[in-house]
């Protein structure tokens, strides 16, 4: 236990800032990720997730601050950190005019993976990703989900210690996402540290810890459970035939802290759920919306996010 406590953080980010012209993409961001964690970066577009990922991957330099992977300073020894790192950029970064097998071979060779190990790992990873049948297909002819899984296979061909995934499952079908996460869980078991950014709240919930990023700053950082506990107020789910009308009806009602349209229902954040429910019912009835049902629910990460940042910042 003490050895684990003394081991350096897998990822250490210390007051990192980066600006592009007038835009401060990342502002004084600090956090650490322990070995074996799945750490999630959540935030709306333009929050600075990709910039932060690129800085961690050593392909972009920060203007200020320090980044260390496995105790090695990324700025001082970028090439050394790259030996134990895998980075999957947001945009598909493999060669579309090369086959699945050729891409794997290429990345295995760049990381000096022995031939025998390459064959064994590639067979195992392709099976896990459901890509065995596509070895000889050009990467450009794979579906979006298969491409992302191939990206993961190439990223894992050399046993990285830290895996950086920038929105790896955006545009990926549910089945492929399930395969994807099965592989990630398997990796966590073997002690690989995973840092990923995601726009999907259900994925955010699967992370061991989450950083909510907004306008280049971290607004909250904790486990999903504790983030939800820390949300100010409580949540009511409102269901009815016309969710938009329901939302508009409760806008500005006393005790309502926030309203969020979630598909066919409305999440109402209130300061005191039991006490406010009768008044809210009455207000709806007065507007001809008495058919609506109202129930107390546990908040999701999205609710926490919106509560922290305002509805304009929904990821």
């Amino acid at each position: 236990m003490t050895a684990a406590a003394m081991a350096p953080a897998a990822v250490m980010v210390d007051r990192v800032s980066r600006r592009f012209g007038a835009v401060e993409a990342v502002r004084e961001v600090s956090f650490t990720v322990a070995p074996g964690e799945i750490f999630g970066l959540v935030g709306p577009d333009g929050a600075g997730k990709t910039t932060l990922m690129r800085i961690l991957a050593g392909v972009l330099s920060p203007d200020a601050g320090a980044v260390a992977l496995d105790g090695i300073d990324v700025r001082a020894a970028p090439e050394q950190t790259k030996l134990h790192l895998s980075y999957m950029p947001q945009r598909f970064g493999l060669y579309e005019d090369m086959t699945v097998a050729e891409n794997i071979f290429f990345y295995a060779t760049l990381f000096a993976v022995r031939a025998r190990e390459r064959r064994a790992r590639s067979a195992q990873l392709l099976a896990a990703a459901g890509l065995e049948a596509f070895s000889n297909r050009l990467a450009g002819q794979l579906s979006g989900g298969m491409k992302q899984k191939l990206g993961l296979v190439c990223a894992l061909i050399h046993t990285p210690r830290v895996l950086l995934l920038d929105e790896p499952t955006t545009g990926v079908d549910p089945v492929s996402r399930r395969d994807f996460w099965a592989i990630l869980y398997g990796l966590r078991e073997s002690g690989v540290t995973i840092l990923l950014s995601t726009a999907y709240m259900d994925e955010a919930e699967r992370c061991s810890r989450l950083a909510l990023l907004h306008q280049g700053r971290i607004r909250a950082l904790d486990t999903p459970a504790r983030l939800k506990q820390a949300m100010p107020g409580a949540l009511l789910a409102l269901t009815g035939p016309d969710p938009r009308a329901l939302r508009d009806a409760l806008a500005g009602a006393p005790g309502v802290l926030g309203l969020l349209l979630m598909g066919d229902r409305v999440h109402v954040r209130v300061d005191e759920p039991e006490g406010r429910m009768p008044a809210l019912h009455a207000r709806l009835a007065a507007r001809g919306l008495a058919a609506a049902t109202m129930a107390r629910i546990d908040p999701g990460i999205e609710d926490v996010f919106v509560a922290l940042l305002g509805s304009g910042a929904a990821p």
Binding site: R54, A57, G58, V59, L60, S61, P78, E79, Q80, K82, L83, L85, S86, Y87, M88, P89, R91, F92, G93, L94, Y95, E96, D97, M98, T99, A101, E102, F105, F106, Y107, T109, L110, F111, A112, V113, R114, A115, R116, E117, R118, H158
Partner: protein, 396 residues
């Protein structure tokens, strides 16, 4: 694809900053696959040299054959007809028409029916017989001054020939000294290109020009392709070093370049029948040297310009004009004004044009070519040094 024949697996810890042959070859291998599957690159690699060899090889010629020549024979005697016939017999002129008046000559020139007209005076034979000499006028359309100059040269040759024969005849008829022609025996001899074939002179230059253009085009796509297709970001997150990227990317194009060079040189020797008097080693060494310069320049452009189209345009612009104008492959450098001559020292193909001509026609070896070879070596060192520093594993 046989994948694991030439790649030794290495321990991951190795190769922090050291060059890893495995990574270098992986880049080269990938590049070969990509060129093979990219119609555009393949066309540049294989079709462009062929097309340019045909176009430049046949299109650029300083020789003039069958210059259309009108004859205005005012005398129409046996002698005058023989004179007119001699122009055609030499092969440089084609008698297009016999005309009957000055007016007709003017019209024929206006219609471009001929660009030269031989005007034989009415007293041609009589003056020859009485005085041993007669004027003969040749009028040229000098709109195309270059062609005209060459045609005038040919005409002078023909006239000198005729005049020699007539002198000999006159001397024999008048019992003078046996032959004046025999006494002044001027026999011009041209070295290296005995037939004065401009083809021999131009084709080696054409090969140099093609390699300069094709080589830079090839590598101009190589780095810009990675930026454009979004593969660069992932590539630079791996331990591959900038040197491995450069060497790995230049290697396949070097092989393609050698292939193209062999194709062009063989075409020069066997299709265009340019005599080859040099040795193979000199040819190989200088060609390799030139390819390194050319490919590294394309690579430099590719690193700087992040789109394929842009890089290819820049490469075309940077190589095409200086190469065609200042390499001396058609326009002789020693006839340029001094500042332009100085500028041409910067134009690397000029060294290779000089080398190829000398190797083909004079049979020069490395020792005899020390000047242009050193020029290329200096260029290669500078360009490789710049190329090695140009690429950074950074997005910004």
């Amino acid at each position: 694809m046989s994948s694991c024949i030439w790649l030794p697996a290495t321990r991951p810890r190795r190769g922090r900053d050291a060059v890893s042959p495995g990574r270098l070859l992986a880049i080269a291998f990938k590049e070969i696959l990509q060129v093979w599957r990219d119609p555009r690159s393949l066309a540049i690699a294989l079709l462009m040299p062929l097309m340019q060899m045909v176009m430049l090889g046949y299109g650029v010629s300083l020789d003039i054959r069958h210059v259309p020549l009108c004859v205005f024979d005012q005398e129409n005697s046996q002698t005058s007809r023989a004179v007119a016939q001699r122009f055609v017999a030499a092969g440089w002129f084609a008698a297009s028409a016999r005309l009957g008046s000055d007016q007709a000559v003017h019209e024929a020139m206006d219609r471009a029916a001929c660009i030269g007209a031989a005007v034989i005076p009415a007293d041609f034979s009589r003056r020859l017989d009485s005085t041993g000499g007669s004027p003969l006028q040749i009028v040229f359309d000098a709109t195309d001054a270059n062609t005209t100059n060459i045609a005038i040269g040919y005409a002078q040759g023909v006239v000198a020939l005729i005049s020699n024969q007539l002198e000999a005849r006159w001397a024999a008829a008048h019992g003078g000294p046996a032959t004046r022609a025999g006494m002044v025996d001027l026999e011009p001899r041209v070295w290296f290109n005995e037939g004065l074939e401009s083809r021999y002179f131009i084709i080696p230059g054409v090969v140099a020009v093609i390699l300069a253009l094709v080589g830079a085009q090839l590598t101009s796509l190589t780095v810009s392709r990675e930026w454009e297709r979004g593969t660069m970001e992932q590539l630079i997150s791996t331990p591959v070093t900038p040197f491995e990227v450069m060497a790995g990317k230049l290697l396949p194009y070097f092989l393609i370049g050698i292939f193209d060079a062999a194709f062009c040189l063989l075409a020069a020797r066997f299709w265009f029948a340019v005599p080859f008097r040099g040795d193979f080693a000199t040819l190989l060494i200088t060609t390799a040297l030139f390819l390194i310069v050319v490919l590294a320049i394309g690579y430099l452009i590719s690193v700087r310009v992040r789109s394929q189209l842009g890089a290819s345009q820049v490469a075309l612009l940077v190589t095409m004009l200086p190469t065609t104008l200042l390499s001396g492959y058609t326009f002789p450098i020693d006839q340029m004004p001094a500042p332009i001559r100085a500028l041409s020292l910067m134009v690397y193909p000029r060294y290779f044009v000089t080398i190829l001509r000398a190797v083909f026609l004079k049979g020069s070896g490395l020792a005899g070519l020390i000047g242009p070879v050193l020029g290329l070596v200096a260029y290669a060192v500078v360009v490789l040094w710049l190329a090695g520093r140009a690429f950074h594993k950074r997005l910004d």
